[in-house]
Structures are given as C-alpha cells and as structure tokens.
C-alpha cells in the first residue's frame, strides 16, 4: 500500500506545532498502525530527519499508553487501541491525518506525545480503597454477588488512555472518573468510602481543567474497552446523594 501521512510535529510544549506531510510507500496491510509509523520513522532517520515521537508500550491493547487521533477519531476507525489497529483498515492511496490527543488538561510534550498525569492526580484524590498491606480479612469473608463482581470488572477494565477526553467536545473526563467510582462502589470493599471518593474525584477533575459532561456519548463511542455511559449515571447518583448528605449534615 502507498499512503500519504499528515502528521502533527511539535518540538516541545513551548513551541508551536504544524502538520508535516510524509510519504509512506510499500506498507503491508498486515502491519499494525504503530508498525507503519516505525517503518516511516526508520526511513526518516536514514534521511537524517528526526523520528516522529509517539507513546506506545505493550502493543497488545492493555497498557493504555498509545494514543493518536487518526482522521479525527481517537484510536482510529475501529473500536480498539491504536496498537491493535492494522493497515488493512485503510485504503491504498489514502491520506491519513495523525494528531495527538487534543485537550487542555493533556498538554502536548512533543509531536504526538501528551502529558496525561492529570489522570494520576485524579486517582490520587480518592480512586482507591484505603487499605494498607497486612490485616486484610480472608478473601471469602465478604461474599460479592457475581453480577456485581462482573459489573465492577467491566468498569475496572478502563485502561486510562484518555480517548474519552480526546473525543469529547468539552474535554470531559467523566467516563474515566465514573469508571473508577463505579468499579469501587459496586464492591462492598469500596462502598465504605464511595461518597467521599465521588466528591473528591469530581472536584479534582474540575480543578485539572476537564470540562463538563453534556451527555453526547462520544466518549463511549471512542472507548477502546467499551466502558459504558451507565457508569456516568451511576456516579451522578452517588455524587448527588453525597452532596445532599453533606448539605443536610
């Protein structure tokens, strides 16, 4: 396959960026999208040009490190991570536009690499069960209904990639935050702190500059792990309950 790439190049967070056009010829349809960029990068180096910087690690769709907005869609045309997207999803002769996540709280560090540490800080604000090592009761001491465990698992499969934020016109992190709140609230171990957790995480999300949720559902559509909008509804219930309790005392 022969393709034309329009790639966002930006030297650092302080400098201005621009699209640069590259020719990607002799690309095999069996290559993953990232392998295609590997090939383009190796050719760039041979020509004495610096390679395109992009985040990636496991390349099996689970670490959440890869990003890329491909032709305007986070992670590209399939509902999967960029590393699991293969070139057979594109047409010979196509022009592909590749950009970093575009969101205020995710500043570009270089080219296609963005800073997602805001997600870590949101987890720091309460995305855990406050249990220290040692002294945990037996694993079977508290039965968890299978349906709850399964739903908690579904929410917990979030890989923290940030596609939901990149897809949202408001750059809202509601899907990410609500997936964590839901995961922990659906289990008895996490329910103890659920109200405090929801209030703190939402406050932190706002403080980090993520926008509000207007229920367009674009986050769910872009999520490579199929995290459901139901989680946002669940978090809103917990949050509202906590707010009322707090105001009534």
């Amino acid at each position: 396959m022969n393709l034309t790439l329009r790639v966002w190049r930006q030297k650092s967070s302080a400098s201005a960026g621009q699209f640069v056009t590259y020719d990607a010829h002799d690309i095999s349809p069996d290559m993953s999208f990232l392998e295609m960029i590997d090939v383009v990068n190796d050719r760039l180096i041979k020509k004495g040009e610096e390679q395109i910087a992009f985040d990636h690690d496991c390349r099996e769709g689970i670490c959440g490190m890869c990003s890329l907005v491909i032709n305007g869609t986070p992670h590209g045309p399939l509902q999967t991570t960029t590393c699991q997207l293969h070139m057979r999803s594109f047409k010979d002769g196509e022009t592909i536009t590749i950009e970093p996540w575009r969101a205020g709280p995710f500043p570009v560090l270089r080219d296609l690499v963005v800073d997602r540490s805001a997600f870590d800080r949101i987890i720091q604000s309460g995305g855990y069960v406050s249990v220290s090592t040692g002294g945990a009761p037996d694993g079977n001491a508290i039965p968890v209904p299978k349906a709850d465990a399964d739903r908690a698992f579904d929410a917990a499969t979030c890989i923290g990639c940030g596609a939901c934020v990149a897809a949202c016109k408001n750059a809202s992190a509601m899907l990410f935050v609500s997936a964590k709140v839901s995961h922990l609230s659906l289990l008895p171990q996490g329910r103890v702190e659920e109200e405090r957790r929801a209030l703190q995480m939402v406050a932190k999300m706002d403080e980090e500059g993520f926008g509000n949720c207007t229920n367009t559902g674009s986050c769910e559509a872009a999520c490579p792990k199929g995290i459901s909008l139901d989680n946002i509804a669940r978090m809103n219930r917990i949050y509202a309950k906590a707010l009322i309790k707090n105001s009534v005392g």
Partner: protein
C-alpha cells in the same frame, strides 16, 4: 573485592524458616522509619506494591518509572491468573503442595527456602487484593472462583477474566497513588535509571534521565530497590512491551551485582507468528487453545505454500500426536515449542516466512459445533482476527513460539538483597523463585509476594543493622556517575553512522533467537559469542542517533537500551555455554533423553550460576551457589 555468596537462608526446617526469620529479624521503630529514604525503580506488580507498602510503613519513598504513568508497567498484560494455596476447592491443595509444584516446575533449580516462603505468603496476597477491590471472578455464591493451570493437579488459580495482571496492577497502582497523595511516596514518571551509585560499597543512589526534558539527575537514598522486570527483549521479538529493557539490572551488574542464571528464558508455544520484517512485537494466545486445537504441518515441502483446506488429511503431519501419543497436543510448553521449531527448520513451516504451524479447530467444530468453540475461545478468535485478518473458524490458526518470561536476574539472598549491600531486587528482575522454568500464574504471585510481604520486612533488617548515615548527591561518587552517564549519551549522539537503532536491535534479536534461543548447541553458542561483540563494535561505530540530549528523544532512549542488550546478550550466551545440561527453559541439544526431553545433570549442575562483571570484552567470572535440597528429593520431571 572477593565475592562470597551468602544466601542467608535461616536455619531450621524449611516450613518454619520464614516464621523463624520474622521472629529473629531486627525492627526499625516507627519514628525512625521516616528517616530512611528508599528508592524504588519500576512500578509493575513488584515495584508498585513495594513502594506503596514501604510508604504505608512510614519510609520516605521515591518511585521511578519510564512510562508516563505507573499504571502502564507490563505486568498489566498478564492474562491467566495468580496462584494461591487457599484450598478453597477442598481438592487437597496446601502450602506444601504449591511449594512442591513450583520447585518441580522449576526443574529443581530454585532455592527451596525462597519458594516455600512464596507459597506461604500466596494466601495473604489474595486477601490483600480482595480488600483493595480487585474484581476477581466469583461464583453465584459470591465466593471466589478458581481455575486450574499447567503443572498442577489442583485448582488454585484466582483470575479476573483474561485480564488478571491488569486488575492486580491497578490494585497496586491505586495503593501507590494513595501513598503519593499521603506524601510518603514521591513519584517520578517518564524517568529512566541510567546508573547506580555506590558509596563505601553500599548502594546509595541512582542517576536518572528525565525523558521529557532530558535532564540528568542524581537521587540519594539509604537503599535502592530494583523492580525493573525481565530481559526478554534481548531477542528483539518477544511478548514483552516495547519499552522493557535490561538497563537497570545491567548497570547494577556493571557496578558489582552478580547476574544469576541468565540462560533460563521461557518460551511460550502459542503466539501469533511474525508477519514480516516490520514486526515489532509478538502477541501471546492463551495456551488453553491446545485443548481443542490440533497442531499440524504439511508432510511434504511442496504443500507448504498451499491453502490448508487443499491439503488432504493423509498429507498432514500431526506431529505432536505422532511424537508424544500420550500427551498429544497438550505436550508441555518447552516440548511443544521445540517440536514446532524442528518442523519449521525442516522447511515444513506455514505462513509468511515459513515460521508457523497450524492450530486447527475443524475437528472440534465438527464435533462440538462452532457455537461451543465460540463460547470457549471467542475473545481469542476475535483477537486473532484483529491481528491477522483471518477467520480461525474457517481456516486453521497459525502459531509460533515466542520469548515470554525470563527466570534469570540479579542474584539475591533470602532477604532479596543482591551481593551489593543496600541493593534489593524484586519481581522478574531477580532470579530467585522460579528455578529454570516458571509455572503459569506464578509470575503475578512472585511479584506481589516480594513487593507486599517480603521486601518491606527484610529491608527493615538491613536498615536496623547498617549504620548508613545520610549521603549527599554532591559527593564525588555521584558527580562521577553523572559525568559517566553524560559522556555515554554524548557519545551515542555523536556517532552519526548509517544504521538505525532498530536495525541493530533486530539483528541482535535474530542472532540471539537463532543461536541462543529455543535449542542451543555448543557450536551455535560459539557462533553467538563471536558475532555479538562484532555487532556491538559496529553499533558504537555506525549507529545513527539524531536529536539532542536535552529534549524528549525516543531514539536516544532506545539506543541506550539496545547498547546494554548488546553487552547482556553475550553474558546470556556464556551462561548457556557453561551449563552443559538441559533444564527447564534452557535446552542444550547435546543433552536430551531419547524422547527429546531435557536431560539434567544434578551431579555437576545443581547450582545457581552467578556471574561477576569484569569489564566489557572481558570474560566474566562464574560464582556458584550450590542448591541444597532439604525438603524435596530431586527427580526427573515426567510428562508421561
């Protein structure tokens, strides 16, 4: 400096060593703990759990990872599960049985005392993870579910669908983030270790590069913990993440830490084969597929290019069923892997490049129906389709073995401290618990055992006994290390050669895979030992690393890691050469039984090989830690 290997195994019967150790160990009182700074490098299961637990205990922790967040570490990709001797099934499991299975699975090349401790704390891990909110699979009763796994006759594996590693890592990550919020852990993401600093023979700090700004920085501490994973990427193609590297353990090795058993590398038989030269990594497919798939290749060379459906039944060679009639397609990992290599070496491999064998579900689909197969393996068939574009319900899957895990690592004593005082090594980065071969669902167990329950205890003993005062990063040892790191970076940036870092890495990987891979011979190892230094020299003369040091420069990061692999690969080959026997993940073709099984030599090789670095291009010195079996009798592993 002469080195004596003291494993510090406590006296007394094996089952009571760990409790005895804990009774006798020195403690640090809570008020004093905050005076001790600990550096933890790596935030996978071992590193994240250790950093969190040390923070909870009151130590001042600095944690480092090269990824953009501690949640990305490659522990996240583990699929199957985690073992624990809970005996919730009432099927006869016990701590002793988990201990025995692990020793036997390791082909009698692991240290008994460590493995017994691992089995003991396995039960605490499950409790801990449940309390953190890890959503393990449950039965309708609400109680925890178990599955069975290779190398065991009991069901002791706890799991969270096919994403157990992810869920356990997120648990440890959240515990770590909680400590970051509490101020006990200072997190440095996108930061790579480039050297270890010794002061008066003790590990007292590290030199790092900030991967965003490129700034070289020094950090001092009372002790350094490495949790930096395995070295599978020395083979270029492996199931490891792209960033996995040997740099931290290799730099520690060059500063005096012994490297143990580097030749023990685990190969997984069912991975999606290479599709071309562009291939950047390999993806594992669960071994469970072999329950219903039949492995075959064409009998005749000329049939290999034809579609599978056009090859008549009588022209197919179901070689596992033919060679191992009693185990058939379920032959153990190492046997199945080597048999696949053999038929491909014969020229009978299938798919692009001829490095693949068929895993055919047609019989099972006829027998059970497509729906049953979809129910059992649907997600795997989907994953296969996504990567290869092929529908495995209609045509056989293609599979090939791949490097998956490395049992070797830095030598550590019972306290998980290397021979360099104050340098602790945990998780896959150390050599300690798996012997020559790791059983399924044991890697997660070991990482969390080390991080939650072992290291946080044993490190206190070191602090209580050592009289280390505070050190400043202004000391000459730190300044010298910074200078060394900067010199090396400048050198890499100034070569301006003709080949890219990836080209060198790929070449090293091919060489390692061909000559030091699944089946090794004296000749192939000699060949590797000749070629690796040549390739290394060429790298330092002809690599092209563009860009500068003081910026985000992924080519430079990669160059430093590949440079270390080019030194480490040689040590791996030395170790494989030295070990004139076959055991677990190390197979020397000269040493096999008539059935092609590994032939151990307990008389001469029942020891841990621990290598001392003497300089690049110098022959390393071998130290031996004899393996003494008090509890278990060494026996030939049997698959009959």
């Amino acid at each position: 400096m002469s080195i004596t290997l003291d494993s510090k195994i406590p006296s007394g019967p094996v089952p009571s060593k760990w409790s005895r150790y804990r009774q006798d160990m020195k403690l640090v009182n809570p008020a004093n703990k905050r005076k001790f700074n600990v550096i933890v490098v790596g935030t996978g299961l071992a590193g994240a759990s250790a950093a969190a637990t040390l923070g909870e205990l009151g130590y001042q922790v600095k944690a480092f990872c090269f990824q953009d967040s501690p949640r990305r570490a490659h522990s996240i990709a583990a699929q199957g599960g985690i073992n624990a001797a809970k005996n919730y099934r009432n099927d006869g499991d016990s701590i002793y049985r988990l201990f025995y299975d692990t020793i036997k699975g390791g082909d009698f090349r692991a240290r008994e005392a460590n493995v017994h401790r691992l089995a003991e704390v396995s039960v605490n891990i499950i409790d801990q993870c449940v309390a953190q909110g890890v959503p393990f699979a449950r039965e309708y009763s609400g109680l925890l579910d178990n599955r069975s796994f290779g190398g065991a006759q009991v069901s002791r594996t706890f799991y969270a669908r096919g994403q157990t590693g992810q869920q356990l890592l997120i648990g440890a990550y959240q515990a770590l983030e909680r400590q970051i919020a509490a101020g006990t852990v200072e997190m440095h993401a996108r930061t790579e270790l480039l050297d270890i600093v010794l002061v008066d023979g003790h590990a007292r700090g590290i030199i790092t590069r900030n991967l965003v700004t490129g700034k070289i920085e020094a950090y001092a501490a009372a002790a350094v913990v490495l949790a930096t994973g395995g070295y599978g990427n020395v083979f270029y193609l492996s199931t490891n993440a792209k960033g996995c590297n040997v740099t931290a353990t290799w730099r520690a090795h060059k500063k005096g830490a012994l490297f143990a058993n580097p030749c023990y590398t685990q190969i997984h038989p069912t991975c999606i084969p290479v599709s071309g030269d562009h291939q950047s990594k390999l993806t594992l497919m669960s071994e469970s597929l072999r329950n219903d798939g039949r492995v075959w290749v064409p009998k005749r060379l000329e049939d290999c290019g034809k579609p599978a459906s056009s090859i008549a039944e009588s022209d197919r060679d179901y070689y596992l069923e033919r060679k191992y009639p009693s185990y058939g397609n379920l032959a153990p990992r190492d046997i199945a892997s080597r048999a696949a290599k053999q038929v491909c070496d014969d020229g009978r491999g299938v798919g692009p490049g001829g490095r693949g064998v068929y895993l055919d579900f047609a019989d099972s689909i006829r027998r059970l129906g497509e729906n049953k197969i979809r129910e059992r393996y649907g997600n795997l068939f989907d994953m296969y389709r996504q990567i290869t574009g092929e529908n495995a319900y209609q045509q056989p899957m293609r599979m090939y073995p791949a490097i998956h895990y490395t049992m070797g690592g830095l030598w550590v004593d019972y306290e998980l401290m290397s021979n360099v005082p104050g340098l602790f090594v945990i998780g896959e980065a150390n050599f300690s618990d798996h012997g020559a071969n790791r059983l399924g669902a044991s890697a997660l167990m070991q990482g969390l055992a080390d991080g939650y329950f072992v290291l946080p205890q044993t490190i206190g003993g070191y602090f209580a006994a050592s009289k280390n005062g505070e050190v400043s990063v202004d000391r000459p040892e730190f300044r010298q290390a910074i200078e060394d790191v900067e010199t090396r970076i400048n050198k890499l940036l100034s070569i301006n050669g003709k080949k890219t870092v990836t080209e060198f890495h790929r070449e090293l990987g091919k060489l390692m895979w061909d000559d030091v891979g699944m089946a090794r011979t004296k000749d192939s190892l000699q060949q590797a030992l000749k070629r690796i230094p040549e390739l290394r020299n060429e790298f330092w003369e002809n690599v092209n690393v563009l860009g500068g040091g003081l910026e985000l420069n992924q080519a430079l990061e990669q160059a430093g890691r590949v440079a270390d692999f080019l030194e480490f690969g040689e040590l791996l080959a030395y170790d494989a050469m030295q070990r004139e026997e076959s055991c677990g993940g190390h197979f020397r073709e000269e040493y096999q039984t008539e059935d092609g099984e590994a032939l151990r030599n307990d008389g001469e090789y029942a020891f841990v090989s621990a290598w001392e670095h003497k300089g690049v291009d110098q022959f390393p010195v071998l130290h031996k830690e004899p393996l003494v079996y008090e509890e278990v009798k060494m026996a030939q592993r049997s698959y009959k």
